[in-house]
Amino acid sequence: MSDRADLEIIASLVPEGSRVLDLGCGDGTLLAHLREHRGCRGFGIEIDDAKVAACIRRDVKVLQLNLEDGLSLFDDRSFDVVLQLDTLQHLRHTENMLRETARVGRLGIVAFPNFAHWANRVRVASGRMPVTRALPYEWYDTPNIRVGTYADFEVLAGKLGLSVLESFGIQRGRLVRTLPNLLASVAVFKFERT
């Protein structure tokens, strides 16, 4: 979600004045954006030392925690929105993290690289793993340990009892509502607990 246009698309999903928890908030860019443009407040969670310091420098409230340890720090529905952007694919306990997201937030917003984007399919069909803008790593050094597709997430959401309120793809900063599983490199889902 480093791209400005991607960031603004995601930000537009967050209701004004929300109390927000951003899981894997990086250097706090999105939280700062939400604070300044949508009057939101809340916390980021980040594990990386340099990114934690960067958040503090821009006065974004950040908690240095390992998401793999869960969200036991937070009560049920203690946030209006829990964001999980470009984070899902790095976590071992994906299912649990989604459950936790839906427990802690009234709304959950997830964005992750869509492995079924046509460019990835072509690359795999040619016999090689994709290396693209959304998936910029070689297979041997990727931090993405959970690669899934837009369609896969719909299935998982159903299994976890999450009702999807809105979903679309993003391709090069543009919203993709037609055939997102094929035409978008990033999948976005907004959901709540059923």
Partner: protein, 426 residues
Amino acid sequence: MPLKRDTSPVSALAVPGFVFGHTMSSIGPVAPQRMHFAEPLTLQSGASLAGYDLVYETYGRLNDARSNAVLVCHALNASHHVAGTYEGQKDSEGWWDNLVGPAKPLDTERFFVIGVNNPGSCFGSTGPADLSPVTGRPYGADFPVVTVEDWVDAQARLLDRLGITQLAAVLGGSLGGMQALSWSLRHPERLRHCIAVATAPNLSAQNIAFNEVARRAIVTDPDFHGGHFYAHGVLPKRGLRVARMIGHITYLSDDAMEQKFGRELRAAELGYSTHDIEFQIESYLRHQGDKFSEYFDANTYLLITRALDYFDPARAHGGDLAKAFAAARAKFLLVSFTTDWRFAPARSREIVKALVDNQRDVSYAEIAAPHGHDAFLLDDPRYHAVMRAYLDNVAAEFASPPPGRPKAGEIPSGDRPAYSPGEGQS
């Protein structure tokens, strides 16, 4: 938590400080000041401390709005001498000199920094070695039991006298962090930021156990004389040495100790002796114990470890820390160190949770420093980057005061003395 870090092997692990192009320089020569308080201090125990002195140091300049003051609270065996050096005294750097000074994270060119020696200590403020106004003899074991809350109240009185209504921040590590937390609960309107490093919402049973072993070592020293050793012209140094050795073990991580000492022998061969020093770690601990027993007061050690034991702001709220922190108004920065097993990160996370539950502003850094509890005194660059970033924002708040912020003359202050920093040394 040594007073001076001088040539301690631990500090050799620290990374030399050179940050953001600023050569780290000490603030230079400083001098302590003394203030007398005639009005007794009512203590948590119900007892009171009759007329007492507080010794303190200040660095930097208090701005006209009196909005740039930062109080630094000291831990077990430190003092008001936070930064700078004493003229003509070698190795006299303050205990947090790597953090506090010109262009350092707590920048004395922007902040007015105050270090206060707590009552009950042995570095100048009224303590057990001082004469009791009642008996005319040293207080000794009769010095009243003081708590973190009592210290905070004593510090608040000093600030009253300095004409400081609200602090930009209160900052402390370990026991000093407990004082910072206590400030946010006892005087919530008097600080804008609370920075608590390597601390805990209370001591665990294991922690109290370590303190108790240290206290028993002191109390059972034949030279202790029930705390009235001053009259006998002796010092319970054996007890203090052992107390310090135990403490030191708990301030270091297993890894740090292993890396520094391992199983290294002092001599080339085993001496087959049960009382001589064989391993370097023994030599190190004995050296630390010896040094400590030369300058630290035994009764102070008992008092301060007890203050640590007693600190438990949740106690008055049925053990509910979130209820305790409902009173807090400040913004918080909490820092812990992954290898600190004396004040483990999990304890800091309890505080974070209590603050999050109350929807307070809090940031939390968990630094993977290798040094154990002692890390809070060292200058790990990740740790100092977080402190610098946070304190820069604290400074930005008063650098361009928003319209409507009270000017100096408008701050209500009952008995503000004619005071300017750097004067009134005694």
